[in-house]
């Protein structure tokens, strides 16, 4: 009897494993293709971040402002000016990279604040429930009722232009959005057995929120933040395009597009180059967010 034990295990093991192996072998191609959906946009983002934040540190790039007027309107591919220069002689590539820095910094700050403040607010509201939940959500519903760009425009005007004020103006839309995502995720979590167990064992409220709820809603907040990055970059570009965000001569993709608008028919590259930078960045964030959401939701 005792000798048959291991015997059985050895013979049974392949029988158990076999059916599992076959579909997994077939699934490898699908998995590989799915991972491509994550790695390609992720790699694009790494390249974009490195270009915007590391390339200017190498010192080989001209300054984004204060170019020589004698070098104005150089075409694409000129010596020392890979993407040419604009009408005051500033290097376009350098302006694109520094402008990208501004866009990415603003978008990162807006989403970090949204995730922290909105995430905690939404999670706490859902965790408490009752009237506190109602009050918080009604106020946030009201903020969401405002057309985000319209409100951001009005606030940016009131606060005055500049990077920091653009961040505050855009937070008005990111905080309520994150709060809603966090609230929905927490509501789904609240009735889970481990939450009940934690509550019954006398866990303090702060530990419940930060130790139990926060790690579990983090994946959803992160995928939302990736989509939020795309939205924020477009909104920041809109503010700068309308002259209410980053102010010239400091570069940003939005104000570069606005400057190029006047000479669109003669020199379309001044609109097309920053537009392409904006599009590539946003599409990378969106595709990565979408792929991760699909992966984590299954």
């Amino acid at each position: 009897m005792a000798t048959r034990g291991p015997d059985l295990a050895v013979t049974a093991a392949p029988a158990v494993l076999e059916p599992a192996l076959e579909p997994s072998a077939g699934r490898t191609a699908g998995r590989w293709r799915r991972s491509l959906g994550v790695t390609i946009p992720a790699a694009m983002l790494v390249v974009i971040f490195a270009a915007c934040f590391l390339w200017p540190l190498l010192g080989s790039l001209p300054e984004p402002t204060g170019g020589n007027i004698l070098d104005s309107d150089l075409p694409i591919g000129s010596a020392g000016h890979l993407l040419g220069t604009d009408e005051v002689g500033d290097d376009t590539l350098s302006r694109i990279l520094h402008g990208g820095q501004a866009s990415l910094e603003i978008a990162l700050a807006v989403n970090a604040i949204g995730m922290l403040v909105g995430g905690l607010l939404g999670a706490a509201a859902a965790y408490w429930g009752g009237w506190r939940d109602t009050v918080v959500m009604r106020v946030l519903d009201m903020l969401i009722a405002f057309p985000s760009l319209v409100l951001a425009l009005a606030l940016a005007q009131g606060l005055g232009p500049g990077k920091l004020n653009t961040i505050w103006a855009l937070c008005v839309f990111s905080v309520p959005a994150f709060a809603r995502v966090a609230r929905a995720a927490t509501l789904r979590l609240r009735e889970q057995p481990f939450m009940t167990a934690a509550r019954l064992s006398g866990t303090r409220q702060r530990r419940m929120l930060l130790g139990h709820i926060a790690p579990n809603i983090l994946p959803q907040l992160l995928t939302f933040a990736l989509l939020g990055m795309g939205i924020t970059i477009i909104l920041e570009g809109a503010l700068s395009f309308l002259g209410l965000g980053v102010q010239p001569p400091d570069p940003s993709w939005g104000n570069m597009i606005a400057q190029g608008q006047g000479i669109l028919s003669a020199e379309p590259r001044f609109v097309l180059i920053p537009s392409a930078a904006l599009f590539l960045t946003v599409v990378s964030f969106n595709l990565l967010g979408d792929a991760l959401r699909a992966r984590w939701s299954t």
Binding site: M142, F146, P147, L149, L153, G158, I234, P268, L278, N286
Partner: protein
């Protein structure tokens, strides 16, 4: 009908079964009544927040209107003339009572009444937005059906990818690229300007094409993605789909006649919820194409620090969004009896 109602309601809100019979008597009227009452605090909050945001901000409107050379005395006199020296709540009360009478104040820059400025601009924005929504829906519905016919098929994957790409194009970028292609290079359409439909309908439509596409293309991608997801959900989980299949309906018939009908409810909500984003997009597109709508009125008021006009425009936009959501909810409950009974508890 009345016998089936308790069965539907009890698991949802058992302890409130006393209110059940009243709710069952006129569920639709009751639902609409509750929903209308809920709008009042939201509208009040929207008006209060608009006023606070626009009036608590630093910077003096009088100073910027008179220019940097104005003396402090001149500024103070002008502020008193505009009523800007009054305490905050007094100004808010005056403004709110004015708003309730349909009076949004007078423009600091032109002296015209804000409501007449906005009323002149509103039909233009409305035409632009409605054309964009209708065209986007007309294209999005067949595309979503095609994608949902074979989930994970080629059409579906291509649609998902392309719609994500479309959603990543900022509308100001799209507008300028369209202008470059169709106005500068091909010279088919005007690059900017506006003609009212009353003057010349053909020219009005020609002016409308590029701005409407700039707003409508991202919208089309958005609608397609959400409608596809909703259709797939209906096809997978719903009993009526199983019934329809069992009685021998073909796949297209199940999709179009059964699933699409039910997905329409979700689509209505999406259109209403997304209206705020859409109005924001209209602001920037109106500016690029020099279309005299509410958005452009608001932007030029922002340039002039014409606070009453900015406040009025923000309020009008917010009220439109709130009312659109109200209409969507009511429409939803008229079309789908499940909502009336189920959601009356919240």
């Amino acid at each position: 009908m009345s016998t089936s109602v308790p069965q539907l309601r009890v698991p949802l809100a058992g302890r409130r079964s006393g209110r059940l019979t009243r709710a069952a008597r006129a569920p639709l009227a009751r639902f609409i009544g509750r929903r209308l009452l809920m709008v009042i605090p939201v509208l009040w909050g929207v008006s209060f927040f608009t006023f606070v945001a626009m009036n608590a901000l630093p910077g003096s409107a009088a100073q910027s209107l008179l220019g940097p050379n104005a003396t402090p005395q001149e500024v103070a006199r002008f502020e008193a003339q505009l009523g800007l020296d009054q305490p905050f709540f007094e100004r808010y009360w005056d403004w709110l009572t004015g708003v309730l009478h349909g009076d949004l104040g007078t423009s600091l820059a032109s002296g015209a009444s804000v409501s007449s400025i906005l009323l002149d601009a509103l039909p233009v924005t409305a035409e632009l937005i409605l054309v964009a929504i209708v065209v986007a829906l007309l294209v999005a519905i067949p595309l979503a059906l095609l994608a949902a016919r074979r989930p994970n098929g080629i059409a579906d994957r291509a649609g998902l990818f392309l719609s994500m790409v479309g959603l990543s194009i900022a509308n100001y970028v799209l507008a300028l690229v369209l202008v470059y292609i169709f106005a500068v290079k091909l010279r088919w359409l005007p690059a900017m300007g506006w003609t009212t439909p009353g003057e010349d309908l053909g020219q009005n439509l020609r002016c409308l094409v590029l701005p409407a596409v700039s707003i409508g293309l991202p919208l089309l991608c958005f609608y397609t993605r959400l409608l596809r997801a909703d259709l797939l959900e209906q096809m997978q989980g719903e009993d009526y789909v199983v019934t329809a299949r069992a009685k021998g309906a073909g796949p297209w018939r199940v999709l179009v006649h059964h699933a699409l009908r039910n997905s329409t409810f979700g689509l209505i909500t999406i259109v209403a919820l997304n209206l705020g984003t859409l109005l924001g997009g209209a602001v920037i597109v109106e500016q690029i194409f020099q279309i005299p709508g509410v958005g452009r009125a608001m932007l030029s008021a922002i340039d002039n620090r014409d606070i009453p006009v900015v406040t009025g425009a923000v309020l009008v936009f917010a009220v439109i969004v709130v009312l659109a959501n109200l209409v969507a909810d009511i429409l939803y409950s008229v079309l789908d009896p499940r909502i009336r009974y189920g959601d009356a508890r919240t």
